[in-house]
Amino acid sequence: MIFNSVSFLVFLVIVIPLYWSLPRVFRLWLIFLSSLMFYGFWRIEFVPLMLFSSFVDYTAARLIYTSTVISRRRVILFISISINLGLLFYFKYLYFFIDNAISVMSVFGLQIDKPVLDIILPLGISFYTFQTISYTVDVYRGFIRPEKNFILYACYVTFFPQLIAGPILRAKEVIHQFLHRPEFNMVDFGNGLRWVIYGLFLKVVLADNLAPLVDDGFAQPVSTLSALDVWTLAFMFGFQIYFDFSAYSHIAIGSARMMGIHFPENFHYPYLAYSPREFWRRWHISLSSWIRDYLYLPLAGISVQDRSTGGLAVAAKQERDAPRRSLLLVLFLTWGIMGLWHGASWTFILWGIYHATFISLYRIFAPLAKSWPDYSTKIVGWAVTLPIVMLSWIPFRAESISASLAMWKKIFSWHEYSWLGMRENIYLIVSLVFLCVIGSYFLRKWYVHTVESGGGKYAVFRISLESVMFAIIIGLVFVFLRPIQQFIYFQF
C-alpha cells in the first residue's frame, strides 16, 4: 500500500482504533494480519515470499541459540544469510548479473542471447531482507534471544509502517515494544499524527511537485546542459529524494507512534552536515547503521554496535584502534555494496565509490583543520560537503555511467558556466527550496531554544503559531493528496 493515498488514511482509521481497543495477544494478530493486508495491496502473490524469508530467520535464530557447537552455529548462520541473499540476488540482481556476464563473454568473442525472464522486484525486499539478516546475526552474536512466538517475531519483520522502505530496525528496538501493552497516550498519538501529516506534506506538496521537473531535466541530452544546469539538477534531485524518502520515514515513524511504538529518527537535516561522515549520521541513519554493524565493522575486524542509530560516524571512534592498511579497502568494498543495495546498476556502484572516496579524503584532510575555531570548521565543512553530497546524486539519478561522467565533466569546464539550458523557473524553484531548507533549520533551532524552552511564558503564542502552521500544512495536504507518484525508495 502506498502511503500517499486516501486508502492508506482509511486503513489507519480502521486499524488504529481497533489496535487500542484489543488486548495484547489480539493486537499482535491485528498488527500481523493488517501488515500482510498492507503488503497485499501491492501484490498479494509476494506475501508468501516475505513470510518464507521471515520463517527462515525465525527458525535459523532458534537453531543457533539452542546449538552449543560453534561450527554448527556458523553453518546455520551461513545457510540463513545465503537463503536471504539468494532471494535478493534472484529478484534484484539476476538481470544485472546476466547482462554483465553476456558483456564479458562478448569481449572473448562468445555471443549469447539474453534470456527472457519475467522477474518482478518484490516491494521492500531489500529492507525486510536486511532486517531479517540483522535478527539472525544479533542472535548469533548473543545480543538478543530468539523469539519463540512466531507472530511476535513476524510483527517485527512485517510491521506495516516500516515494511516497504524502512527504517531498518533491530529486533532489540522493536520486539519489546510489541511485547508490552502500551497504554493509550494522547501526546504520542498527537505527535504521531503530526508526523504522518508532515510526511504527507513533504511527499505530496514538495517531492511530487519537484518530480516532473527533475524527470524533465535528466531527460535532456547532456550536451544541451550547462555546468549551472548540472548543479541545479543535482540540487533539485537532492531535494526531491530528501523530501520523498524522509516523507516515507516520517509517515512510518508517525504511524508507529500513533500505536505507541517508537522508532528512532531516520533523517536529521542531512544537508546541514559539515563533513561527508557527518552526512551519513543524518541521512538514512538506519541503513548506514546497519551497514556499519553488519558489514563495515565486521570486515574491518572491529567490535560492532547493537542499535540502528548513529550511522557510520559512530564507527569513527573504534576505527582508531583498527589496522589502517585494511580500512581503506573495507571502506570501498562497503560503499560499493551500499551502492549496489540501492539498485542493480553500475551507476549506484559509482555513487557508492564516490562517497567512499570523499570519506577517505575527509580522513586525510580533517586533521589539518583541528586547530581552526569550531564555527569556521563547521562553516567551511558545510560549504564543501553540501556540493560534494549533491553531486553524488547525479549517478544515482542519471540513466548511465557515461551520462553521469559527462555531467560531472561539465562542472570542471569553465566555459560551461557562461550559459543556461533550462527553463528560468527551475533555477528559481531550486534556489527557493534551498533557502527554505536552510531557513527551516535555523528557524526550528530558534523555536526550540526560545519558544519551546520558554515554558508557560509562550504557551498561548506556541499553540497559536503551531496551530496556524499546522492548519496550513493540513490544507495543502488535503488539496494535493493523490498517489500520482510512488516513493523513490520503493524501487530499491
Binding site: M1, I2, N4, S5, V6, S7, V10, G40, F41, W42, R43, I44, M186, V187, F189, G190, N191, L193, R194, P212, D215, D216, A219, Q220, P221, T224, L225, W419, L420, G421, M422, R423, E424, N425, L428, A459, I463, E466, S467, V468, M469, F470, A471, I472, I473, I474, G475, L476, F478, V479, F480, R482, P483, I484, Q485, Q486
Partner: protein, 386 residues
C-alpha cells in the same frame, strides 16, 4: 505534580490536533465557497487563455473537423470517412488556431474559414491543435495520422515560444502505443527520446502511482465516493489549480515578469524540436506529402517578446531546413496588423491586462485562412476533383 504536567501535555496535544483541523477546514471551506472554486465550471484550458479569449473548434455537418488530440481525433476521422475519405490537407498547430481574442457571437476561427473554402472546391481539411504544442508532439501526431489518413499536404506553423516546450502529453498515448509508430520512432535518436517519454508521460491520472496494484480499485472507489458526497473534496483539483496559478502570479509580480518579457531559447529543447521538425520533413518527403511551413503571425505593433538575435536565428534555421527538404516556407509574422490583436489576463498579481502575442481577433483568423488558401492554390497543392 506529574499528573498535572501530564494533563497539561494531553490538553496541549489535543488542542494542537483539534485547532489546526478546524482552522484548516475553515480555510478550505472559505476557498471553496466564498472564492467560488467549488462551483466554478470554467474549463482549465479556457482558464489558461484568459477571459478575453475563447476557444472555437471548427465543425462541419455535425462532425468536428478541428480536434485537440487523438482521443477526440477519432470523431474527426469518423466525419472525414463519412465525407468520402478523400486525401486531406492536415493542419497541426497550437492554441493560435483554436483561440479567438475578443470573440463575439457568430465569430469563427481560421480553421472553419479555410475548411469551408477548401470544401467548396472538393478538398478536405483536418486540423489538430493543442495549447503550446511542441514539434515533438506534432512529429508523433503526424507519424500516427499518416497511417490513418492519406495526407496530401501538411501545413505546419512554427512558433518560437513552443520551441521552449518539451515532452509529450498523455492525450498522445495511442500514438506511442501504436506498433508502426514505435517502429519508426525507434530508428532515430529523437524518436527514441520521444519513446523514452512514455515513462514520464505528462499524465493527468491522479492514481498513476498505483498502476497495476489492487489498491488502485479501492482508491478509485473511495475517491469517487468522496467526490460525489463532499463538495469540498470535489473542489480539490480547482483549488490545486488556483494555488499554482497564484504562485505563478506572485512569481511574476516579484520578478517583474509579464507578457512582454523576453523569452530566451532553451538549448536542449530547441535542439529536440528542430530534430523533430527535420524528421517530419523527412517523412513528408518519403510520403510525397506537400509541406507548407510558416512562421506564425506575431504582434508587430510592439517589440516581440523574444531576444531578437535568437528569433532571427530561429527563422533562418527553419527557412534552411525547409529548403533542404523542398518544403514551402513562408514567413507570416507580419500578416496580422496590430489592431487585430488583443489583450490577455494579467500574468502578475497586479491584475492589469497584458498584451496577447499569440491569439488574434476574428479578422486575423480570416487573414490567416486566406493566406494559407492562397498558398495551397498557388503551389498547386489542391485536388481538382470538383
Amino acid at each position: 505534580m506529574n499528573s498535572v504536567m501530564s494533563e497539561s501535555n494531553h490538553l496541549r496535544s489535543s488542542l494542537l490536533l483539534v485547532l489546526p483541523v478546524i482552522i484548516g477546514l475553515a480555510i478550505l471551506i472559505f476557498m471553496s465557497n466564498f472564492l467560488g472554486l467549488a462551483h466554478n465550471e470554467e474549463k482549465l484550458d479556457e482558464l489558461a487563455l484568459g477571459k478575453e479569449t475563447k476557444i472555437y473548434r471548427a465543425t462541419y455537418q455535425g462532425f468536428p473537423v478541428h480536434c485537440n488530440e487523438i482521443s477526440d481525433g477519432k470523431i474527426c476521422l469518423e466525419g472525414w470517412k463519412k465525407r468520402g475519405s478523400r486525401p486531406v490537407t492536415l493542419w497541426l498547430g497550437n492554441s493560435q488556431l483554436h483561440a479567438i481574442n475578443q470573440m463575439k457571437a457568430h465569430d469563427v476561427n481560421g480553421v472553419q474559414v479555410l475548411f469551408e473554402k477548401l470544401a467548396s472546391i472538393g478538398n478536405e481539411l483536418l486540423t489538430f491543435s493543442e495549447p503550446n504544442a511542441s514539434l515533438l508532439e506534432h512529429y508523433l501526431l503526424y507519424l500516427y495520422l499518416r497511417n490513418h489518413v492519406p495526407v496530401q499536404t501538411l501545413i505546419l506553423p512554427v512558433v518560437f515560444d513552443d520551441m521552449r516546450e518539451n515532452g509529450v502529453r498523455a492525450g498522445l498515448t495511442p500514438a506511442l502505443n501504436d506498433r508502426i509508430v514505435n517502429q519508426e520512432l525507434s530508428k532515430t535518436v529523437i524518436g527514441r527520446e520521444i519513446l523514452a517519454e512514455k515513462k514520464s508521460l505528462k499524465s493527468d491520472d491522479d492514481l498513476a502511482g498505483l498502476n497495476d496494484t489492487p489498491q488502485k480499485n479501492i482508491e478509485e472507489w473511495i475517491v469517487s465516493l468522496l467526490t460525489e458526497r463532499w463538495a469540498l473534496w470535489a473542489a480539490r483539483p480547482k483549488m490545486r489549480g488556483q494555488l499554482l496559478k497564484n504562485l505563478y502570479l506572485w512569481r511574476n509580480s516579484a520578478f517583474g515578469i509579464n507578457a512582454q518579457s523576453k523569452r530566451k531559447i532553451i538549448p536542449g529543447r530547441y535542439k529536440k524540436n528542430m530534430e523533430a521538425l527535420g524528421e517530419i520533413l523527412r517523412f513528408c518527403a518519403i510520403d510525397k506529402t506537400n509541406v507548407i511551413i510558416y512562421i506564425v503571425p506575431l504582434r508587430n505593433d510592439v517589440a516581440p517578446p523574444y531576444v531578437l538575435k535568437e528569433y532571427m536565428r530561429f527563422k533562418n534555421e527553419i527557412r534552411l531546413l525547409a529548403a533542404q527538404h523542398a518544403a514551402v516556407f513562408v514567413n507570416l509574422e507580419g500578416l496580422v496588423p496590430g489592431r487585430l490583436w488583443g489583450k490577455k489576463d494579467a500574468t502578475s498579481s497586479n491584475g492589469v491586462a497584458e498584451l496577447d502575442f499569440m491569439h488574434f481577433q476574428v479578422g486575423g483568423h480570416r487573414l490567416l485562412a486566406q493566406a494559407l488558401f492562397d498558398l495551397l492554390k498557388s503551389n498547386n497543392f489542391l485536388s481538382s476533383n470538383k
